[in-house]
Amino acid sequence: MAERSFAREVQDLRLGAGDEFRGEGILAVTKALLQSGVGYVAGYQGAPISHLMDVLSDAQDILGELGVHFETSASEAAAASTLAASVNYPIRGAVTWKSTAGTNVASDALSNLSSSGVTGGAVIIIGEDYGEGSSIMQERTHAFAMKSQMWLLDPRPNLPSIVKAVEDAFELSEASNTPVMLELRIRACHVHGSFITKDNQKPKYTVREALENPVRDVNRIVLPPASFLHEQDKINKRWPNAVKFIHDRGLNETFAGRHSHLGIILQGGMYNGVIRALQGLGLADVWGNTLVPLHVLNVTYPLVDDDLAAFCAGKQAVLMVEEGAPEYLEQALNTVLRRADINTKIAGKDVLPMGGEYTAGVLSEGLRKFFDRYDSSLLHTPAPSPAKVLASAEVKALATTVPPRPPSFCTGCPERPIFSAMTLAQQELGAHHIAGDIGCHLFALNEPFNIGSSTMGYGLGPSSTSAMQAPGARRAIAVMGDGGFWHNGLLNGIGNAVYNEHDGVVVLVDNYYSAATGGQDILSSRATPVGRSTNHPIEDAVKGVGAKWVRRIDRTYDVGKMLATFREALTTTATGPKIIIASSECMLNRQRREKPLFNAAVKRGERMVKPRFGVDEDVCTGDHACIRISGCPSLSMKPSGDPLKEDPVAAIDNSCVGCGNCGEVSEAAVLCPSFYRADIVSNPTAWDRMLANLRSRVIGWLQARRDSNRLAVAA
């Protein structure tokens, strides 16, 4: 079960010819796949393409009707390998993941796939996680396309263009026997728009037919001598076929403009930004009319040399708008024009920055520089600019006022107490080398925990401490989530540590989901989704590869127990990796699951108990030690309201879900007695009421007795 339900969006997948689809870009891709007669879909979740996987997971019945096989791959490598079905059979297949992180993982299979070549259209939907909102290293997928000779589509970021690109991609793949990557940037994946749908197509050739009629072609296998033939085939057939198809079908678009002595060549994904920047300079309008000619590369690899030469011929200068480093396209354009002996000047990374997202402001400034250099007479409209505002004293003063707000653990997150306990363990036993991994647990890097020194990739936390061991030295600690564990970590992390008798500590954060990507189920999930096999304990898996020292904690909120387990793991004389499996359900998903059930039960009149935490403001001294060890968003501060108490006191707001971490922390760290837990009993039973009545009578009498003697000051 994913964090979000796609029940409504699933219905959009049923739209037929002439209907209008309204929704997110990545969901439009899902519909486009079904319209293209895709035979199978696989992938690995991750922003910004998680929703493609999530919506298909919720659409099992539609997929069943069409005979489309869908699976959630164990990793991007598994997803890429799935495309092997299109090598020998004319089945259309699509896979998806976030790039470049996922493409790295997939690249072994992708190299083999593109060497073998494909018969059925093979399309890889790439969520290019680059620029603002990205959570990964800033690299380009473009390099993968070049090294493996796969084609790369980068369509204009509107739904009709994206949908057309999906359809084109399958045809291009089949025309050139080459897998095709379709790149969508973060905002394009999340863009809300509309397009006119077509009927879904049943696959022309199905997985079933392939299984019943197996084909074997030794020339498709990557083994000498075929592998040498593949290389020649790529250069002599597949590439030229692809170039011809792109040219013949006009996949790249040219928009004419009055100022034909200049031109702009751009990646399709840059189109809306470039139009807006031109609009700011008075050179285009909101309907896409432009005064400067544009050549839009909806296919950024391979390039169609003749089309580029034709666009540039006779122009004084062209600007290449290419996001990301290095400037592969600009270099290629230089080669194209040199070979064609065309002397048009090429601007690119000299007026635009080499690296970083091409935001509206960056594009506007780059275009201004380009026109200024080659025809400043075009610059008569000043582009919108925040410069004056940003230079004002009032705005400059904000630099020291507005605090940064990086992402953090959610309210009630079961991972927080793990890091609270780790903080306390380090206070006792000294600072340790701690390796991070990919997942929500990486938020421990930030305040208040400041835990984690490196991250090497998904499921690679433990192996990133491989070298970090010396007899008698403090042990290295590696943190890894259940997502990373099943993706890569079982073998490269645990198996590697067992085999090499690593002396370190591995903390496996088991929150029942691949939580950071949106709460998808994995092998060890406790849910029982139809068509998936779950409930395979991590504990069994690590023992299965030979781990001996394994401790499982089923309630991470027990900070005292977590602390004791860390203490033991860091000091025991046992050899081999010390593995702590810290299990508690992701609170976002748990709330989503339990809250409606709870409210329904209360409505039915059942006795239900809801915990909530609070701080006694007159006991709190305003030292904020609790916040430094907890970091819960719902644990904040408020003015003390007491002239004698100068600092703000801790306070818990209404978003508290009653996880208990703050109380456990104050208890384990011996902080202070300010915290209380209030169990709110809805629909109490007669016995509850009687007992409460009895208690409050006695307690009330004792309280009244003392109150009556108390001399005090009333305000």
């Binding site: 309907w287 507005v402 605090p403 904020h624 004698l644 208890e667 202070c672 009993v681």
Partner: protein
């Protein structure tokens, strides 16, 4: 070819992950489409959706037959028509990003604060100052519509996206009437009644119709409880404070009197006033801080005090109010406590406590018996009665080990204050204020005390310097800036080089 002059309406929503910025964005899109407009929305939630700062962006344009608009996927700095900020600092961040322009931007912001981690982890008051953000909002936006939208949402049992949507409607920044906004909320079909109430609250607040709250009139303290003679004595103590202390110190002295009367008894208040008057006699500028800090020092947080605060009837009522339980619900309260051997010894008569502390064997025994985390259910008799008994030890407080130590610490501190007061009242004032460093319980208390000792210990290094008071203030600020005292150690190292 002539270029068209139509421009889309650009709306940026800045929020924190989990605040419902996406809901607001969806509502705007749904409303625009329902009214025949073309809408495009984007976001970059990614990991930021986990409580980090994030942004949603919407463009709206009136469609023209046969044409497709090319809209931006990100806000263009200097070219945004409406910015909706779901928190004050996020409004500040939007201004810093250049999204707010004096010639075009309507800024609709909730003025409440949701404190960032960096603000919360300071041992002192790390709260960022709201004033510069409010000033920038007022000066840089074409129109600034600001109100506490979170409070409105909470009051109506809804979420902030609904009250902000109301404020957006009231701002008239979008070309849709109020009915169109409300129809959108109804159309979404989730929590409609509460959302509409929050919407109306947001609308009114943004229209300047504030729910009027009467300013609380300054209360005149009056004694309650006890007998007539006792009440007369309390009144006399107030009169004495008013007569002997400068006006600037009156309200703090009143608070001090009230606190210490509540904490102990009339004699203790007399002791307090005596000390405050003695310090204030050196220089009137010392009076307010003397009244505050001596009260804090004398009302130290011991187990008796905690037990008393936790067992009061008024506290039971406050808990019910804070957690918002209804009369039909029962509330069971559990306290998280962890008494250590130190606290147990400190609650013994001075001689006995000191004796036990000196005996490792007894300490170990006591530790094994009592030094455990304890969850005390104060709503049951088994939990309430022991705490009630501990609170009852108040009458013996003066004989206990903790009191002896607190008095010694207090007297030593005041001696230092008074040794500097005649020649350098400014320095004496700063030393008085250093008492603020001692707070918290157990380890936190020890760390605070050690910082206090370090700052006081730096006094000889500053002997004879005209700027000694300034230095002590700097050291105190450094001590409050972080928990482990690194800033303070650095500052003291600097003092050593003077």
């Amino acid at each position: 070819m002539e270029l068209a002059q139509d421009k889309p309406i650009a709306v940026a929503i800045t929020a924190m992950g989990g605040q419902g910025g996406g809901v607001l964005s969806d509502w705007i899109v749904a409303m625009a489409e329902a009214n025949g407009w073309h809408a495009q929305a984007t976001s970059v939630p990614g990991v930021a959706q986990r409580t980090g700062a994030t942004i949603y962006y919407v463009e709206l344009i009136r469609p023209v037959a046969g044409k497709h608009p090319v809209l931006s996927l990100m806000p263009v700095p200097g070219d945004v028509d409406v910015v909706v900020a779901a928190e004050l600092m996020e409004a500040g961040r939007a201004i810093q990003r250049g999204l707010v322009s004096p010639d075009k931007t309507v800024l609709v912001a909730s003025t409440h604060r949701s404190l960032s981690m960096l603000e919360k982890i300071k041992p002192g008051d790390g709260t960022a100052d709201s004033a510069p953000v409010l000033a920038a909002a007022a000066s840089q936006a074409k129109r600034f519509v600001g109100a506490d939208m979170q409070a409105i949402a909470e009051r109506t049992g809804s979420v902030i996206s609904a009250s902000l949507f109301g404020a957006l409607a009231a701002s008239a920044a979008l070309p849709f009437p109020r009915e169109a906004f409300e129809a959108t909320i109804r159309g979404a079909g989730v929590g409609v009644t509460a959302s509409l109430a929050a919407f109306a609250g947001g609308f009114d607040a943004a229209s300047g119709i504030a729910a009027t709250s009467a300013e609380p009139s300054p209360a005149i303290p009056r004694p309650v409880g006890g007998n007539d003679s006792q009440r007369r004595q309390v009144a006399a103590l107030f009169d004495r404070a008013h007569a002997h202390l400068p006006t600037a110190a009156h309200s703090l002295a009143e608070a001090g009197i009230a606190r210490l009367l509540d904490y102990q008894d009339l004699a203790y208040v007399e002791e307090y006033l005596h000390l405050v008057e003695r310090v204030a006699a050196h220089h009137p500028s010392l009076a307010p801080e003397a009244a505050r800090q001596i009260a804090v020092a004398m009302a130290y947080d011991d187990v008796i005090r905690v037990a008393e605060l936790k067992t009061r009837a008024s506290r039971f009522d406050r808990v019910r109010k804070e957690i918002g339980s209804t009369a039909a619900q029962l509330v069971d309260t559990t306290e998280y406590m962890h008494p250590r051997v130190q606290e147990i010894c400190a609650t013994m008569p001075a001689g006995l406590g000191a004796f036990v502390e000196r005996s490792p064997l007894l300490c170990k025994l006591l530790g094994a018996l009592f030094d455990h985390p304890r969850r005390i259910r104060t709503t049951t008799l088994a939990g309430f009665v022991p705490l009630y008994f501990v609170a009852g030890l108040k009458s013996r407080r003066r004989t206990l080990l903790r009191h002896q130590r607190e008095v010694a610490h207090r007297d030593a501190w005041l001696a230092v204050v008074e040794s500097h007061a005649p020649q350098n009242p400014a320095l004496a004032l700063e030393i008085l204020k250093c008492r603020r460093l001692v707070k918290g319980y157990s380890d936190t208390h020890s760390r605070g005390s050690s910082k206090f000792d370090k700052v006081i210990g730096a006094l000889p290094l500053l002997a004879g310097r005209a700027d000694a008071a300034d230095w002590i203030r700097r050291l105190r600020d450094a001590a409050l800036a972080d928990a482990d005292g690194k800033m303070l150690d650095g500052a003291i190292a600097t003092v050593r080089t003077l």
